[in-house]
Symmetry: C2
Subunit: 348 residues, 2 copies
DNA sequence: CTGAAAGCGCTTACAG
DNA sequence: CTGAAAGCGCTTACAG
């Protein structure tokens, strides 16, 4: 191998044209597969390009072309190392590539400043479309991009500004269903573990919880609702606390997978994992290997990502129909922990 | 909001110059913070830029600039929805952003054609550097990019071609250590579960297994080594089979987290999870919630990603030192399953 | 401190 | 079927 530590200048159309003995316009036509190039000339251009290792410069072509496309998408999620986010990214990326798009990926860490920074960075590179999870409060940066006319699809949560597509899951409906399954088993004291109240998904899931109880004629005990829990440790503490109540819950609904994990820890610690029912929203790896295996409301995360990608690609392709809010159905996956009846846990 | 469904043409330096009443060269200087711009003029330019919502076109500037930088990195991993890959990506992305770089992310699905396709796609967009996991056999596409002089750092596995940085973990050493811990507990019949033999990481881990046994004067039983296991199901079958041997293993070393998960399933199924020791390579979520909790060799995946990102950024910045192979130390995390002594599992 | 001209690699809009 | 000229948005290399 020759010295690969030195980056050589890339051959250009000019070089190919010189070697093939044609004009650069002819090379352009041949490279882009436009018709109106003689078979013999096309072959000579192809040979010259191959000999030089020529690869067209997409930035240059995009700069000059009428459509100005960079065939590039920007993805801004909270944390790409989260399974939810990474599964979304994977689905988006697969769909994007089918259409010849490449994907920029960034994590905003739920920080408005960082999100704005990433969006700015994407804008400087003139991405054709944006896929993002809107922050709970501050959606100014996203709204700004949208107002400039950048095609945008929001995931997991709806925008607070108009005229923008989004794809979410059946938070309320599926939670209501899950809670009704618990009441059907006879549970009356069902605890609710929720993340930050400002999160739309958790508002929806809480609403579903209330609705599910109401359908069964159960009045929600205020002492059983623990919200603003951030992370598994907070959930663990909350459940431990709940178990110490005079009338402890016979079932727990954890509105997020990290909270379900914290609940498992608390139940295991109290030795009550087979006595108190548990259902979580969002699946997590090896949930089926725990004892009991953890029943969950499973989002179709890949479908979420695929749908969002399809939407933004359609917008880029010129779809000017009114903004859509697509809801992807979640599925109840019974594994054991959610099928524990209340009798066994009646204590005292 | 005005009609955000129509993408307006972006304002250019020309527009800003016209509004500020200066030449575009002056706008260029002001925007790039070059010195030699009068305070009054700088202010007028800033105002005009803000009024128009001007944002420089990085592609155009990169095209003309001497350094040709796109301040863009390409990441090509096997599957971005894998926790290992997504944790790497997250670390790379964080590091990249600190240096003003944005990251293109793609999954090659272990398919040479797809990897070549992604690399091509990245090359057309003139990324400044490449971070990739080399495929077991076909490294031609990566070698090709490297020969063109594209800065490149390989992750998890070394290249089969020269002059290229890579970052891997202590596969052999840590496996040897883990096996020696098992022999120190008295284990003599220790099974090995491995993925495809062509994978360098699994060759290394197998070598570490052999070495660890040798240190304890144990001769590896050929019947206890099961390789070419692809995924948890294969591992589960293999362990079930091992447990049926006349002299079953008293301990299992699973050379990958998915294989460890399969092993857990088999042990649980046989009711032997508390009787047969298990150690896995690579951590996995909630491994600590299983009963017994699963002991693992934990890679420092974030450090892997950070190191790789730093290396490629240094190369891009002009570092011409000889190629490095950095090895990141892994850690043994005892959780219970690896601390099961052999006596309890002596059967018959 | 400021600007006119040329050019990065490519496509557009013509002309032949 | 092929090509010369102009220009995308910006920076370089000059000149003043």
């Amino acid at each position: 191998m020759d010295d690969s530590r030195t980056r050589r200048p890339e051959p250009t159309m000019r070089d190919v044209a010189a070697l093939a003995g044609v004009s650069i316009k002819t090379v352009s036509r041949a490279v882009n597969g436009e018709r109106g190039v003689g078979a013999d000339v096309a072959r000579r251009v192809a040979e010259a390009a191959a000999a030089l290792g020529y690869r067209p410069n997409l930035s240059a072509s995009s700069l000059r072309r009428a459509d100005r496309r960079s065939t590039t998408l920007g993805v801004v999620f909270e944390d790409l190392s989260n399974p939810f986010d990474s599964t979304l990214l994977r689905a988006v990326e697969a769909r994007a590539r089918e259409s010849g798009f490449l994907v920029f990926a960034g994590s905003d860490e739920d920080d408005p400043a960082r999100q704005a920074e990433i969006l700015e960075s994407l804008a400087l590179r003139r991405v054709d479309g944006l896929l993002a999870m809107p922050l709970a409060g501050h959606q100014d940066a996203l709204r700004g991009e949208r107002q400039r006319g950048v095609p945008m699809v929001l995931l997991d949560r709806p925008p607070t500004f108009p005229d923008t597509d989004c794809v979410t899951t059946t938070n309320r409906e599926s939670t209501s269903e899950a809670v009704q399954r618990l009441t059907a088993l006879g549970h009356r004291r069902i605890a609710f573990l929720g993340d930050r109240q400002e999160l739309w998904t958790h508002q929806e899931r809480h609403a579903g919880y209330v609705e599910g109880l109401a359908r069964a004629g159960v009045r929600p005990g205020r002492d059983l609702v623990r919200r603003d829990l951030r992370g598994p440790e907070a959930a663990q503490t909350a459940v431990t606390d709940l178990l110490g109540l005079p009338e402890p819950p016979t079932a727990v609904f954890a509105a997020q997978n990290l909270l379900a994990i914290g609940a498992v820890r608390a139940l295991q610690h109290a030795g009550l994992e087979h006595d108190v029912a548990l259902v979580g929203f969002d699946d997590f790896p090896v949930a089926d290997l725990l004892r009991p295996a953890v029943s969950v409301v499973q989002q179709d995360v890949s479908a979420l990502g695929r749908t969002a990608a399809d939407l933004v690609l359609a917008r880029i392709a010129g779809d000017r129909s009114p903004a859509k809010h697509v809801t992807i159905p979640a599925t109840l996956v019974p594994r054991g922990s959610g099928e524990v009846p209340p009798l066994r846990s009646a204590r005292g």
